[in-house]
Symmetry: C2
Subunit: 358 residues, 2 copies
């Protein structure tokens, strides 16, 4: 049995689901891969829990439940104050360790860099480190010990598929994708002639959007995903280079969420018109990331109803890879692109893949 | 620059395309991965070419062209008689070597077993070694140094996706797939009301089928693919356990290809009826591999026209993975599932993935 020390940064929804999946799969991972994943440190924005021998499953469950109830790590019986993830990696890291980033923060970048310098593996669910400077992207991915499948399309194998195409020397000419379950849901609702303001409010009330729905509607999350794919192709783009079409005008960017939701009705007519125009041409509206000709753009597109993008319903994600060998029909990956359980499963898969190499 | 010694078994369509892709990607693989793939041996059923320092690209091109014109390796200026691939692996293998099986033969199994015993990597485009005994499947895949992406769906990432789901501990409940471009093409033709006999003859004349189209229509190739997926799930099935529905009756299994093609018209009426019945229910016929509940079956199914399987046209392959996290919508992979160029690209991707781990 090989023991793999894990340092988990971020104990929010995905981090907690990851703890549950690790515990639930202990027997399976032992039998199938001869692996035991040992959590030697957990870190949130308030503090850390460190146990060089690996935290017991009972302790992990207790911490998972405390965090689910909103208790910060520092206030659990096992936690101590720590504001520097890098220091935890320095202290808790040992040979063969894997640092797992389930945060959505820039603050963990020094911790990730230290981990890779030390020869540890790293798994990211966090898009921020890969969408900072191109130089940082090159340092992180150049290590060959970083996996980040869930940064695009959650557990669906969009990153792995692109890596595989690149290894094969196939010429990737164009990638088109729907990379937001929330915006996918909105587009399906618009297609069913629901007013834009009603669809957004509904998505907000059902918890499909971020706490501030402008974080979805602004398109920046999709832009980060497009940028990651473009950089994998070797294109030296920065986040500012991605052309982003937000789904609301600049004057609505400020103010409270309630005021924003109330004000959305002014957009209904324009959206209804665009939907009708698209329908008139056998098309439907989609919020599409387009990566082609050295450029990235994300925004509304009118796509044929019977194309892979046009047939998509609900909140599934989808990527089309148009390449030398996948032409005229693209290689298509489709599936649930969000959700803490599917994302945590993708993170766990990345961890095991790194552990198998070690 | 890391040099990776390759021993290539089989220099038919896929093997020759692989040589071309390796040569064409030399600069790219060096710049991106710091790798140089050195072919130290080529083997066909007649003989071998061995060069411990790695064959020059000019020599590889010369051999590739000779093979394309039907010259056996033994008759090229570089070849010598050899009937035992295992002996070639024994002689030409060195640390870090990868044995690449582009044959469609059982005869290479001892060579693959020796390679894995020695700690070499192995890449299979050949389904036979993985669809022999379950014990052999376990020995080959248990090494952790075998890749076989192209055995199902050519270069599309069906194997990698299933591996990723398994690593994550997700519960894979059901896989449904269309794994034959030839049969996919036939089903599209039937859907367009073309008589079965006409569609088969056309596919045969365009070179879409094997030299004996019964090798496609019998369903065994699809059955092997289904068996590989089922075995990855840990199910102890043998090839005989797969329920296979051939597209012709047993009394047409014997005799010449011409007689078979001429006799097909007797089946037209029955096929037309099944197509019509399916259409009446909003469905269409597909040749489906179904892996669920510990069992595999391959055969005709009537599937809803607006399902992923029903929407498929032409010769693309498609796999739906129904799992705990991918439910009710499955994870779907779709793309060109055949062709020597796409298959060779998939083989090359597997080679580079193994080399990166080394």
């Amino acid at each position: 049995m090989r023991h793999i020390p894990l340092i988990v940064l971020g104990v929010g929804g995905v981090g907690r689901a990851l703890l549950r999946h690790i515990i639930a799969n202990r027997d399976f991972h032992a039998a199938r891969f001869g692996l035991r994943l040992q959590i030697v440190a957990l870190v949130d924005s308030t503090g850390a829990v460190v146990e060089p021998q690996g935290l017991q499953d009972e302790t992990l469950q207790e911490i998972e439940q405390a965090k689910a109830q909103g208790t910060p790590l520092v206030e659990t019986p096992y936690g101590y104050h720590a504001s520097d993830a890098r220091a935890i990696v320095d202290v808790a890291g040992t040979d063969g360790a894997i640092v797992v980033d389930c945060t959505a923060s820039d603050a963990v970048i020094p911790a990730l860099e230290l981990a890779l310098e030390r020869g540890y593996g790293a798994v990211l669910a966090n898009k921020k480190p890969l969408t900072g400077s191109m130089a940082l992207f090159r340092r992180l991915t150049g290590s060959g010990r970083l996996r980040y499948e869930t940064t695009v399309g959650a557990g669906t194998p969009m990153i792995a598929t692109l890596e595989s195409l690149i290894r094969s020397g196939d010429a990737v000419r164009r990638i088109r994708g729907i990379f937001s379950g929330t915006l996918g849901y909105l587009m399906s609702e618009l297609q069913s002639d629901r007013p834009f303001s009603v669809a957004v409010r509904q998505a907000y009330q059902m918890g499909y959007t971020e706490p501030d729905p402008r974080d979805d509607l602004g398109g920046m999350d999709v832009a980060r995903k497009a940028l990651i794919l473009a950089r994998m192709l070797g294109w030296g783009l920065e986040l500012d280079d991605v052309a982003v079409e937000p789904l609301f005008p600049p004057d609505m960017a400020e103010g409270s969420v309630d005021a924003f939701l109330a004000g959305l009705t002014v957009l209904d007519k324009a959206f209804a018109q665009r939907v009708e125009e698209a329908h008139g041409q056998g098309c439907t509206l989609r919020y599409v990331a387009e990566i082609a000709d050295g450029r990235c753009s994300v925004g509304l597109q009118s796509v044929p109803m019977d194309s892979p993008l046009g047939r998509l319903r609900g909140s599934d994600n989808l990527a089309e890879f148009h390449t030398r060998w996948y032409s005229p029909s693209p290689l298509v990956i489709q599936g649930r692109g969000a959700g803490v359980e599917a994302t945590a499963a993708g993170v766990l898969s990345d961890i095991v893949a790194l552990a198998q190499r070690g």
